[in-house]
Subunit: 214 residues, 2 copies
């Protein structure tokens, strides 16, 4: 009885400290960016020794991968709210807007999830399996595109290719925006234009095009 009790306490403590490490890592990440996530800084903030962290995470990229997973949970939560949009093309548009909104409001997380190589390199070398969270998000897109097709949209295109294409386009828009390329290049050629609108205009163009190929 008391054995299992103490065991549970230890397990709970382990879990708590593991969570605490992730929490502090997230705090550093959101406050001062990716580069200032440091094992030593995390340890200092918690009040433990840097090496203790290695008892809870394999290495630094393990911590970063945990952060990566956090981000996908956030995105999944946002996507889940769109399930009640019945008309598939409307849902597709809403997903696009939601994705862009996520990218703009969680820039660092988006970078970690879709731009940086480190987290996916970690999962490749350690788990040797696939990328569950990302796969789930892509599945949501696939289902919606399939629904669109069943209602007469995108007749000429392959489901697989079409989904990939849509994701690539919206990711491209977000990626260029976040890295500053969008405003930078465009302002050089269109100094009079309002930069904030570039992203919206690119998205509207996608919607326009998708509608026109119905």
């Amino acid at each position: 009885m008391s054995e299992t009790n103490t065991k549970n306490k230890r397990l709970k403590h382990k879990e708590n400290l593991r969570k605490k490490i992730l929490e502090v890592a997230k705090e550093l990440f959101l406050k001062h960016g990716y580069d200032s996530i440091s094992i030593r800084k995390i340890a200092d903030k918690i009040g433990i020794s840097p090496t203790t962290i290695y008892l809870y995470y394999k290495d630094k990229s393990d911590v970063i991968y945990a952060l990566h997973q956090e981000g996908f949970k956030m995105l999944a939560t946002q996507f889940a709210m769109l399930r009640n949009v019945d008309e598939p093309f409307e849902r597709l548009k809403a997903m696009g807007r939601s994705y862009i909104e996520f990218a703009l409001e969680n820039r660092d997380f988006y970078e970690l999830m879709f731009i940086m190589r480190e987290p996916i390199a970690f999962v490749n070398k350690n788990y040797a399996c696939e990328w569950e969270e990302g796969g789930a998000a892509f599945e949501a897109l696939l289902v919606t595109v399939a629904d669109c097709k069943s209602r007469g949209y995108f007749k000429q295109a392959d489901l697989h290719a079409m989904s990939l294409y849509i994701w690539a386009t919206i990711h491209g828009i977000c990626s260029l925006k976040l890295q500053g390329h969008l405003d930078h290049v465009v302002s050089a050629h269109f100094p009079e234009k309002e930069h904030q609108l570039n992203l919206e205009k690119a998205f509207d163009t996608l919607v326009l095009i998708l509608r026109s190929i119905q």
Copy 2:
């Protein structure tokens, strides 16, 4: 006479060492990736002291920015070969293929040029102007899209928005491919498909769509 001569010699020596530093940095970059570009490693390879590099480049991000510029020269060279393609839509397709080819054959350079934040942060903080090389590449796209429009393509869409959209789409395809997301996510859902084709299929979808909205 002899004064200017010795002055020239010194200037030449300065230029040569500056070039040598960049050359070695490029070598390290291409052989072992971005992360193994280190001031100390560059210095060791040349046989000079690490601090000497600071007499030729402001700091590490200055070296990396120089590498960044190298990449844009390479891309410009590749684009220049397409000027003789007369039919604008054919030229647009060729540019897209050329861009993708560049990304696949110079993965590290592409990452440095369009994905990483460091070089553009450097130019922002130091030159306070714009991003010439990138601007030139975008201008080439703009001109081609304008030519397409003048021949009846993309009637409904704005030149500006359309160009941005095309760039974003192709960049998105390249970006997802290079970071491994493309194959990773898709293979989870389509294990039987050939991964190499994902990129081509996404590009073909773009071309199909662009043609259909003529």
